[in-house]
């Protein structure tokens, strides 16, 4: 069992400190490793892609081209990217309604993702799912899901199949702090533990469930991972603003699961820089808190650090950026130009 790291930060308005535990904390990369450098660039590319994608989503929501509920991942990029980078292609990922970042990090096609948000026939779900319901089964991306914590048993079931079929695949399940107050969360943790399912519970603790600071709605404070001991599920905390720390913590957990260790739990402390959804005026929190977290923006800090460490050059970063700008612009173009689904489509996909 991994010993939970004790969080040093107890105040709700302070960004989580990097974990002090060397195992899950940020560790400097081996500077001579070219592959690692490519990896780093790739991690940055994904984070930057997500950021730009989300910004484009926000813009197109304002224009009325994206509708319904839109939950952006801005601020949490390091978490999803770090976590998913530790997976294999045959693993499953299950997400909630804040799913764009997870989908893109998984390599779900950006054009089809944007098209889904535009509700187009070329979208991942043919325009039937929308922002909250990106799916790409070929990529093992088993959906965004709209009901808080409703996705947890799905993940347990996918993992059950992996176990039943005697593979060493696993299922990674993302969920937020607020969703731990749904009963089904607890039911699923217990079930996974009793059956030793190969599932990685990944809590993105961004300190708020919609307008509710966890401290107002949760007994037990801002740290969730110690509670996992109740279910005998090994749990660690990691700094969700540090992509390498997240990656490493996830790699360790993944290894344990593949070795038959049963479910594992990671709590990443992170923050959404914007509102819960684009309709949220954030009356419930002060801007200082947001500003403070923004100083740790991984999309800004990570490339700077890479340059500082001499792992990549400024030019390389700029190249990545240029590539991303183009990809996102193209995805919007693709989405705009894609056709709406045929009205007859409403009757398809009800039954298999």
């Amino acid at each position: 069992m991994v010993n939970p790291t004790k969080s040093s930060s107890k105040s709700k308005s302070k960004p989580a400190k990097s974990s002090k535990n060397g195992k899950s904390g940020a560790v400097g990369p081996d500077e001579s490793d070219v592959a690692a450098s490519t990896d780093h660039r790739e991690l940055f590319r994904q984070m930057f892609l997500i950021r730009q994608f989300e910004l484009a989503c926000g813009e197109n929501y304002s224009k009325g081209l994206i509708r319904g509920f839109l939950h952006l991942y801005i601020g949490q990029e390091a978490t999803g990217v770090g976590a998913i980078s530790a997976l294999r292609k045959d693993d499953y990922i299950v997400s909630n309604y804040r799913d764009h970042g997870h989908a893109l990090a998984r390599g779900v096609d950006i054009n089809r993702s944007m098209a889904e948000l535009f509700g187009k026939a070329t979208g991942t779900s043919k325009g039937k799912g929308g922002s909250m319901h990106l799916f790409d089964v070929v990529k093992g991306f088993m959906g965004g899901h709209g009901i808080v914590a409703g996705q947890l048993p799905l993940a347990a079931g996918l993992a059950l199949a992996q176990q039943y079929q005697k593979t060493d695949g696993l299922t990674m399940c993302f969920f937020g702090d607020g969703s731990t107050n749904q009963g089904v969360y607890h039911e699923t943790l217990n079930l996974a533990a009793v059956w030793k399912l190969p599932v990685l519970f990944f809590l993105e603790n961004n300190m708020y469930g919609m307008g509710s600071s966890i401290e107002r709605v949760r007994a037990g404070g801002i740290d969730f991972y110690p509670g996992l001991a109740t279910y005998e599920i090994p749990a660690v905390e990691v700094d969700g603003m540090d992509v390498l720390a997240v990656k490493e913590a996830t790699e360790i957990a993944v290894e344990r699961i593949r070795a038959g260790g049963g479910p594992q739990f990671i709590e990443a402390k992170t923050f959404r820089f914007g509102g819960h959804s684009v309709a949220d005026g954030q009356k419930y929190r002060g801007q200082e808190e947001v500003k403070e977290w923004e100083t740790r923006d991984s999309v800004v800090a990570f490339p700077l650090k890479l340059i500082e460490m001499g792992l990549v050059t400024k030019d390389q970063i700029n190249d990545v950026k240029a590539e991303v700008y183009e990809a996102v612009a193209k995805s919007v173009e693709f989405a705009e130009q894609s056709p709406n689904p045929d009205p007859k489509e409403i009757h398809n996909d009800v039954f298999a």
């Binding site: 509708r67 039937k128 009901i147 689904p341 409403i346």
Partner: protein, 325 residues
Amino acid sequence: MTEIVLREALKRGLEEALENDPSVFMMGEDIGEYGGAYAVTDGFLKKFGPDRIKDTPISEQAFLGAGIGAAVAGLRPIIEFMSISFTLVAFDQIVNMAANLRYMSGGQISVPMVIRAPTGAGVQLGATHSQSFETWLAEVPGMKVVCPSNSYDALGLMRSAIKDNNPVLVAEPALLYGTKGEVPDEYYEVEIGKAYVTRTGSDVTLISYGYGMRLVNEAADKLAERGVSAEVIDLRSLSPLDMDAIVASVQKTNRVVVVDTARRIGGIMAEVSAELQQRAAEWLDGPVMRVGSDDVPWPYNRGLEREVLTDADDVLKAVAEGYGL
């Protein structure tokens, strides 16, 4: 008379009760600091304080169930769900506890509780957020279910719901929160269990409730243009269901179309249709025509959602098909 939007009418009903009756309090997700997902409770926390405006964890079973307990003990809780779609996670508490407790206890217990929830499709929220479970809950003995279509009824029904000694679901059509309507300055109530004839007519009865009233009114206007006189009934209360009012109208017009913006299949309009057979078959010049949305999950795409959602044209088509008008 003042003109206010439906959201304001609901708000006034809640505010009044909170002011006048100390046993009234509210619970729900983000009704306090956030001000409510649809802003119905905006400003309440400041005005009434955290003991009466209780922000809850995302634990619908627990806080709905706690509402039941508080009601049993003599308080008058008002529980907000962010969406009627989320009542599903608390269905056991609503159906097996709230609605059954009085009966199982041989009448020792009453549960004077209001459950409020926005209902219906139409704003591209997709399959899990666009449902209309008021039609299921209306089938549960022990529950009352109302659904206002305008500001007057919203305030009047809210007053009655809060005073009622039973669990009452107030289903609030999400598409109508911003719709204006006149509300008297003097006090009034709208009785639960009474439908309302919103327009008298002689040729055909159109029956709906909530957002569906938009459609039947529009259809009635178009019918009037071609000289067909439609009588329009707003159910307002799905349970108890005012079959007397419905039957009386059908006896007059001999023609009837029932309309639900929820799915056409099942639900409250199947009930109205079936019951009309028993109580007014001999008065009917044709079949009870039933109009509703397609029997598929709600899609996200705007065009698809519009395609699924029934509209005034469907009502006109049914009038023509059923009665040649």
